[in-house]
Subunit: 287 residues, 2 copies
C-alpha cells in the first residue's frame, strides 16, 4: 500500500503521514510529492492508494488549493480525519544564539503567526519570504539565495528560519527558540482515497455546495433541510468560487454517515436546493 | 477633509481612493498610510476623517486584516461601498521584451492569479516573492535586493514585476504585457468612518456575528430570523476566528438600512441567537 503526502521531509504533512501510517494494520510506504496537484492527481490516477492532506487550519481556515481540487478536478473521497497541533520553531546554524539573529525567513502565514514573539524578542529583525517553512529552513541550511557565506551569515547578517522541529533535525540545524507561535494552532488532516469509509456508528459526512449568486438567502433553505432532519451540522465555512464577487462554495460537515436514511434524504433534496452539490465522503469522526 | 488609503502610490488602493475623492462634493486630501493597522487606527483616533479600504476580493475572499480589525480593534462604520476591477501588468525596465524576462517578482496571490499567463508565455521563469506588488515594482525599478546591476539585470537575469499600470508609470518602467490575470478579478472597497450613512432607500447593512462553537446549527437560527422578515441576504461569508478549529466569524450583508423596523428587530433578536454580534454599518448599495 502506498500513501502520499506533501513533502519534503520535515514538514507537518510528513508528521501527519507518519502518524497515520503507524496506525494502519498493514504495511504502507510513505511517498513525498512536491505539489498538492501532483499528490492529489496521483490518487486520482491510482499511482498511490491514499493521500494525507491538510484541509483546514485554525488560523488560516480552509486550505484552498486542496478544497478547490476536491470540488472541481478529481473524484476522490475523504475516508479519515484527524487533528494535529502545529508548533513553530526558530531554527539557525549551530552556534547562533537568539540575540545574534538579524534576519528571519519563513512563509508569510508562519511569519504572521509568530509576529508577537518576533516583536518582543527580535524587534529589529528583518523578515524574508519563502514559499514554505521547510524551504526557509533549507535555505538557512544550504544557500540563502546564493548569498550565504558561512554559518547563515551574509555580510554581517545572521539568518534564522521558522519551521518544524523535524526540519531542524533533517538539516542538522539548531533550535534557537521553541513553540514561538502565540495562539493555539491546529491543522485538520484528511485521508483521500477512491472510496470513503464504511459506517462505524460515529461518523461525519462532508459536502460542498453552492447557491445561485443572486439568492444567498438560499443558504437558509439548505440549512433548513439539515435542521428539519435533526442532523447536527458540525461545520459550515464559505470559500470564494473565484468566479465573481459574492459567489461562494460552502463546505459543510454533518454528523452521520451517507448510508443513514436522513442524510440520504438531505443529499437528495439538496440537488434541488443548490446550484451545485458534491458528496466529499463519510468517515469516522476524529477524536 | 482627509481621506486615508493604503499606500504607496501606484496601488489599486490609491486608484480606489482617487475614484472616491473625485465623487465627493467637498475638497479632500488623500493621505497614504504604510499599513492597514496605521490607516484604520488613524480614523479611529480622528487623525483622518475617512479611510478607503479593500474588504473583499473575488479570488482571495475577505481581506482578513481589515475585517479582523473591524470585528475587534476599532469602532468604525462602513459608510460607502464600491467595486473596482483589478488588472495585473508585467512590468520591466525600458528595453526589456517579454522573451527576455528570466525572473518575475510579485506577492504570492498575484503570482497565483497570473500563473496561466506565466506557464504559457514564460514557462522557464523563476518566481520571487515580495510583500506587495508595488514593492515588487519598486524593487525592479531601484534595487532588487541589492543585486541589480543595470536595467533589472543580475548576473544575466532579467527581472520583471507584476503590478498595476499606475505603479509602472510611477517608477518610469515599461509595461511588457497587459491584463495578464486569467480570471475576472474585482475588489470591493468600503469607506470607513466614525458614523455610517443615513437612509437613502436603496441601502445595505453589514453585520458580523459568531455562533457558539459547539452548535454550528445555530447559523440556521440566525438565517431564519432574517428570512422570516423577508429581508434579502446579499452575502454570507465565514472567516476563521483564529481561536480554534471550527470557530468562525460570519460576515453578512442584508438589503435595507439599520433604521428600518425589520432590520432593527433582527439585530435585536440576534443578540440572543449569537455569541457575538456587531453592526458594521448601513450605506447606499454600490452599483
Amino acid at each position: 500500500m502506498k500513501v502520499g503526502y506533501l513533502g519534503p521531509e520535515g514538514t507537518n504533512s510528513e508528521e501527519a503521514g507518519l502518524l497515520y501510517v503507524k496506525k494502519l494494520k498493514q504495511k504502507a510506504e510513505l511517498i513525498p510529492f512536491s505539489t498538492f496537484f501532483d499528490l492529489i492527481t496521483a490518487v486520482n490516477r491510482r499511482a498511490v492508494d491514499e493521500a494525507v492532506v491538510p484541509i483546514e487550519n485554525s488560523i488560516e481556515g480552509t486550505i484552498g488549493i486542496v478544497t478547490d481540487m476536491l470540488v472541481k478536478e478529481v473524484d476522490l473521497k475523504i475516508k479519515r480525519e484527524f487533528v494535529l497541533p502545529i508548533f513553530h520553531y526558530l531554527i539557525a546554524q549551530k552556534g547562533v544564539r537568539l540575540a545574534d539573529v538579524t534576519d528571519v525567513i519563513s512563509n508569510p502565514p508562519v511569519l504572521d503567526q509568530c509576529r508577537d514573539f518576533l516583536r518582543k524578542n527580535l524587534p529589529k529583525v528583518k523578515l524574508h519570504l519563502a514559499y514554505s517553512s521547510s524551504d526557509a529552513v533549507r535555505q538557512v541550511a544550504v544557500s540563502l539565495g546564493e548569498r550565504v557565506i558561512a554559518h547563515g551569515k551574509v555580510k554581517g547578517h545572521v539568518f534564522a528560519a521558522i519551521g518544524t522541529k523535524a526540519s531542524a533535525k533533517l538539516f542538522n540545524l539548531n533550535i534557537v527558540a521553541s513553540q514561538i507561535n502565540a495562539k493555539e494552532n491546529q491543522t485538520r488532516f484528511v485521508v483521500l482515497a477512491k472510496t470513503d469509509h464504511p459506517r462505524t456508528g460515529d461518523d461525519k459526512t462532508s459536502i460542498v455546495f453552492s447557491i445561485a449568486k443572486d439568492r444567498p438567502g438560499g443558504l437558509h433553505d439548505v440549512l433548513t433541510e439539515i435542521a428539519d432532519k435533526d442532523i447536527n451540522l458540525t461545520k459550515i465555512e464559505s470559500r470564494p468560487s473565484k468566479k465573481s464577487l459574492g459567489d461562494y462554495y460552502f463546505f459543510a460537515d454533518m454528523q452521520g454517515h451517507r448510508s443513514d436514511t436522513d442524510i440520504q434524504i438531505v443529499l437528495n433534496n439538496l440537488k434541488r436546493k443548490t446550484s451545485f452539490v458534491k458528496l466529499l465522503g463519510s468517515y469516522p469522526r476524529g477524536k
